[in-house]
């Protein structure tokens, strides 16, 4: 039996109306914009050689913005699903004659909606999968998620521009107002009222956020049943990539380990005991990962600036931080001058009073304020002044 293709007029529910779409769309637009802006912040923070250096303060800045990224993206899931449900009849809207002015405009408008819907679903699906470190696709996550973010925000702005008169009319009148109804809309609801649908959508959004945000909002850890992290791990701290996965296990445990600090021809080599004999500082700083989890910890180690003084590195030197890891894209990162000068930037030997766990970067790791987790290099074996 073939199902008949519906027409726009086949949908008669009072809930599929611009009065509801505009109200959910307003929050969806806000959430998408927050996700877009906080995503830009993350790209800026990860661009290690950008001409405007990323600031080192506040130390919790990256944690906050990336927490917002996770929360706003998660909030979009129920908002987008209900929004798409309310506008579903539009998919079956009759097309005007294709070669008229109206026809061309309609094709362009519907084309931009197709891009918007495709980009929105893509961003939510790829973002949430990334937080679970699950990559069932053939594209490279970071550049593609970034490119499609621009498609999504561009299509969103265009969509709001096209629909602005309808949005204004819808938001300016009561949600149960019938002025914007499609022809054939029922006069009464079979179940939920429009107000009821809106309230339900807000509740669903709240549930989605509470179920996820514990990965980054510490007090929610116990109730976030769908969070990809629960704050637990060796030394009370989750691990993004283990020593085994990074291929650092053997080199990191080698008793012959030496940290090399290099500035041109001058080099200094220090064993872990030498490092521990230097004056130590203790700082409470968060690890905040681009995958949307974060946790705070108390780190003890040697300020990177003190180490650079051993080879007379000039102030504001950019430093190449090199790891023992043999796998992964971040074996070598750049620590910009503003970070290497900051007294809070440590080469940490301990966390919460214990020697670092192998998975947290033993024998020593970088920890700097307001810095993406992927750039808090673990298993550091060389600090080199970039000429």
């Amino acid at each position: 039996m073939a199902l008949p293709i519906p027409r726009e007029s086949s949908f008669t529910s009072r809930l599929r109306t611009p009065a509801v779409s505009a109200r959910i769309g307003r929050w969806l637009g806000i959430a998408f914009t927050i996700a877009f802006l906080t995503g830009l912040v993350s790209h800026w923070a990860q661009a290690q050689t950008w001409w405007i250096p990323y600031p080192t303060a506040p130390s919790w800045g990256y944690r906050l913005t990336q927490g917002l990224h996770l929360v706003s993206g998660t909030a979009c899931v129920p908002l987008l699903l209900v929004k798409l449900w309310t506008v579903f009849p539009k998919l079956f809207q009759a097309m005007p004659k294709p070669f008229s002015r109206e026809g061309v405009l309609t094709v362009l408008e519907r084309g931009s909606i197709a891009v918007l819907v495709a980009a929105a679903i893509f961003q939510l699906a790829s973002g949430l999968s990334n937080s679970a470190q699950w990559y069932p696709w053939g594209f490279s996550f970071r550049p593609t998620h970034y490119a499609v973010a621009w498609l999504a925000i561009g299509a969103l702005a265009l969509h709001v521009a096209v629909k602005l008169p309808v949005i204004r009319q819808a938001l300016g009148s009561d949600v149960e107002d019938d002025a914007l109804n499609r022809p054939g809309t029922q006069a009464t609801s079979a179940g939920l009222t429009r107000r009821g649908l809106l309230r339900t959508t807000w509740v669903a959004t709240g549930v989605a956020v509470l179920a996820t945000a514990g990965a980054t909002v510490t007090p929610l850890r116990r109730i976030s049943l769908l969070a990809v992290r629960n704050g637990k791990g060796p030394q009370g701290l989750p691990v993004n990539r283990s020593a085994e996965a990074a291929g650092a296990t053997d080199a990191a445990q080698d008793p012959a380990f030496r940290l090399t600090i290099a500035h041109g021809d001058r080099t200094v080599e220090l064993s872990r005991d030498d490092l521990a004999a230097l004056p130590q500082q203790t700082r409470t700083l968060p690890i905040a990962c681009v995958e949307g989890w974060s946790a705070s910890a108390t780190w003890t180690g040697v300020p990177v600036r003190d180490l650079l003084d051993l080879v007379d590195a000039p102030a504001s030197s950019d430093i190449s931080v090199q790891s023992l890891q043999t796998r992964g894209a971040f074996a070598r990162t750049t620590l910009q001058g503003s970070f290497s000068d900051d007294p809070d930037t440590l080469l940490a030997l301990q966390v919460d009073g214990e020697d670092l766990d192998l998975d947290h970067g033993f024998p020593c790791r970088l920890i700097a304020p307001n810095r993406p987790g992927v750039l808090q290099t673990k298993w550091v074996h060389r600090l080199e002044v970039i000429a």
């Binding site: 495709a118 679903i121 470190q133 699950w134 990559y135 069932p136 265009l158 049943l225």
Partner: protein, 135 residues
């Protein structure tokens, strides 16, 4: 009108920049991205949306009108959290060397959320009845 035109121009500029960035990622990356872009729309328009219509049509036949609103609300919360929870059920990104990633049992977690929604909805139905009797 100026608001609309400038917003539209900003939108077109964003679209153009996004397309340019995507084109710069290389042919095989573009093909894979387009597959997933189109796949998401097809999955929604071809499976999720029709499924919601079928479920609603069936529910209209069996659920008495006095509790329909509460049942619909519960279904929306359960359905939207299911979209979020389903991909985690099998813990597909889990790695044996890193127990701190995906540390929970997500099937149980989602069932707890479902149970909470059912209990709250049932309580609201009872409240509706008490109120109806009083008035």
């Amino acid at each position: 009108m100026i608001t609309r035109l400038s917003l539209g121009a900003v939108g077109l500029a964003g679209l153009a920049y996004g397309a340019w960035l995507l084109l710069g990622t290389g042919w095989s990356n573009i093909v894979a991205a387009v597959e997933w872009l189109a796949g998401g729309v097809l999955l929604h328009d071809g499976v999720v949306a029709p499924l919601s219509i079928v479920v609603a049509a069936l529910a209209l036949r069996v659920v008495p009108s006095s509790v329909r609103a509460r049942v619909a609300a519960a279904a929306i919360v359960i359905g939207t959290t299911a979209t979020q929870a389903l991909p985690l059920f099998d813990r597909p990104g889990a790695k044996p060397d890193n127990p701190t990633l995906l540390p929970r049992d997500y099937v149980t977690g989602w069932l707890v959320i479902v149970a909470l929604v059912v209990v709250v909805s049932a309580a609201l139905v009872l409240l509706d009845r008490v109120r109806a009797r009083r008035s």
